[in-house]
Amino acid sequence: MLQFLAPLFLVALAGLAIPVVLHLTQREKKQIIRFPSLMFVRRIPYQSVRRRKIHNWLLLFVRMAALALLIAAFARPLFPRASPLVLPGGGAREVVVLLDTSYSMGYGDRWERARRAAREAVAGLSVPDRGSVVLFSSGSEIVARSVERDKALAAVDTAKLSAGATRYAPALKVAGSILSDTKLPRREVVLVSDFQSNGWRGEEGARLPAGAKLTTVPVAGQVDRPNVGITSVALTRQVVNNQERVEVTAGLVNRSTRPVENLAVKLEMGNIPHGTQSLTLPPGASSTVKFEPFNINSRNMRGVVKIGDDALPTDNAYYFVVSPAQPLRVMVMDRGTGESRRFLLDALSAGDSPKFETIVRQPEAVSDEELRRSAVVVLNDVSIAQNVARRLDRYVMEGGGLLVAAGGRASWPPEVATLPGAIGNNVDRRTGEPARISVLEYGHPVFEQFRGPRNGNFSSAKVFTYRSVNPSKDAQLLARFDGGSPAALERRVGNGRVLLWASALDREASDLPIRGIFPVLVRQSVLYLASYRPDQASVTVGQVLDPSVAAAPRGAPSAPRVVLTPSGRRVPLQDEEAEVLELSEQGFYEVRGATGSEPTVIASNVDPMESDLTPMDPNDIAVAAVGEPGASDPSSGRSEPLTPEAQENNQRLWQYLLFAGVLLLGVDTVLSNRLAAKG
């Protein structure tokens, strides 16, 4: 039955008399024409004018209908929903319960209510029915698939909250696949969640099979309790008296509608309190706190920024790992004078994070230990004997980086196929027009920095002498000289990379070394060859363990490795497959290698977006998944207040009424204009 939210507005229906009165009175009034002088008109004898009787019943009706529609719109009509769980048809059911285990469900008593709702959904299964339980956060896990009622109930009872963020689409896809496989005639999905807007990014292809029913059970409840989350921790490194220090800055946000006063923010380093800061946050505000810098004494120092408990405790701690900055070791091999390598060494000494630790050696004088410790070897216009070439080849195969600058003195034994091309004749362009670098592969990581406009101009650099290069089959050409001869080539050899620059890196071969782009070019090349990745203080739950972090050091014997999770679980990493380990817990993961070696520590934090509890309309998901607004669970519907958006959605009828009213007013304008034109 039709109801009204604001029935008092219906009193305004009395206003319908206005158009009638206007119609009755309007005809009596005439528009008066003001005329300069009635001198001549006055002389013409007056003739009585017959009054026209106009009966614009259509106009009157349109006006009254428009007013009535507008008044009805303001009165906010709504049709109360009928019970949605009365399903048509009969037969056994396949019910998939999707239970949200994201950490925002830990807010208040949401988790208890969600489990209760899931239990109720499963408890409704009769003997021929089958139930599946899917726990989902950023990923989804089928804990029970097409089982009887009791097993499904057990699966719900053992469900635990995770540290993940809400993502609806993967869970709906899993539900869709379960329903596609079933042979039971009635298919239902019950989605129990707090319906955070962050978890839904449009349709995302999450469509349930035809005929499936989706019931949404929102368990958000009241969200007015204090809730502060730590969203980020930034580490600022500085060197004071040869001692590296780190300053920790934590970002906090108050997600609730209440102010939080004198919040104690604590920093602990290795379980020892380091400092406490006090903070006051107005509703919805974010702020940062800085702690006193501390010295970095050892590798893998574990730090936590914490605040006291509130309605959502999971986002009240932020973990991070900090280690001393490791310089990148670069070995320069050359035989020349200091002049020939001056520009190269200058370029390598520029810049921090990371710093380069450069050593210069003659090719024959390099020890195996030095080679093993070097991340990148630079051959600076040097002739390499066969035995050295073989050692370098092995070094690259094991993951080392090799940068070859091929000037006039460079040579490489053709028996060792490490380089991306055979170094050929010397090309002398000192007389006449010097060579230019014409084609550049800007998509390559080495040249990516120069891609933007005004980010360095290679085409103006002059190259006076270079070596022609005959590229090998698997070489990637990165740059060419204007004659078409390769200028830079890359090749992957085993685990390592080789970069060949077809000219010397000194002032005689080109004017590149005196240009601003040179230090950037050298730095990028070395970082690329060393496969350098900056240290991450922490990762987010849901990310996959980076294999390179877990990899054994280069040259070290590959040992069986074990990951120790924050909850104390041991996961062995032996074969390639197992290395894809999703970080699902909040805290410190340890990757332990061979006995005696130091473990690698990874800090894992929850997604800060998840602590934003802004709700969404469950019908959006229902419309995307089954093409129509979903049914709300009546049992929870009575106890759970709808979100404001959902309420608004149920009362949308007023918008149509308002639209129709405005449309009729437009018709009225057209009609009256026509009548006026005719009259």
Partner: protein, 304 residues
Amino acid sequence: MAVEIHAIPGARFMDPVVLARIGNLELVSRAVVDGFINGLHKAPYFGASVDFAEHRGYVPGDDIRRMDWKLWARTDRYYIKEYEAESNMNFSVLLDVSKSMDYGSRGITKFEFARILTACLTNLVHHQRDRVGFVAFDDDVVEFVPSSAKHMETILHVLERVKPGRPGSLKAPLHKLAEHFGRRGVLVVISDFYEEPDAVLDAISPLRFRGNDLIVFHVLDPSELEFGFGDAQPFEDLESGEQLPVVPEAFRDEYRSLVQAHVDALQRSFSGVRVDYTLLDTSKPLDHALFRYLNSRSRTMKIR
């Protein structure tokens, strides 16, 4: 909208509705008068007199008869001597600013039209170095700017300021004004002449007594001439506020004949006393009025 073809180049820029939109009277009058004069191809005045004004540098094309040879002998440079043109005529526009002038059916009121016409005529005369004056009247004299060679700016300023507001009558103000125009000159009366022809003639005649040349512009809106109203509606007199029920369709023919008779009577009366009368329709370009003025000037000069 029909495009009127004018004999004079530039005259199409004299559409009163367009000019009324410009707003700046000085700009409007200068544009109209300059364009009008250029359109004639021959300057209506030739500046030569005995009053030396200034020297200016010779440019090729100048008449070498006007070169100052003495100065050339002293400075070895060519200079042209320039003279003030003679100014011996008084010129005044008497503009009716009664309420009935504040009427317009085609984008411009009679008053706006008359105001632009006044500005143009004044500017034209000022170009000829004659003295210009201005009078605005309704049932009394509202504004009075005596004739002077330096009053061009003042007239434009007064024209900008003056607004039609009160009912008008011709006799009282014009009789009063007749006393003021002691010196011989040219008087232009612009009005809609909503009075009996005899009364109009009676009001105008004294202006001629001191030997003034009198030019009369009768400004009417096309609606006043055609009476093209549609519906039966009450009409209100702008000046008296009197209302009459009117059925235009029934009234139209009779009204037109009455207006035509009025215009004919005025024409007759004025020509009888050698006053130049012109009926101006506000939808027509201004060049018509300017021509009329120049024609009448040349004719009266010949007669004199």
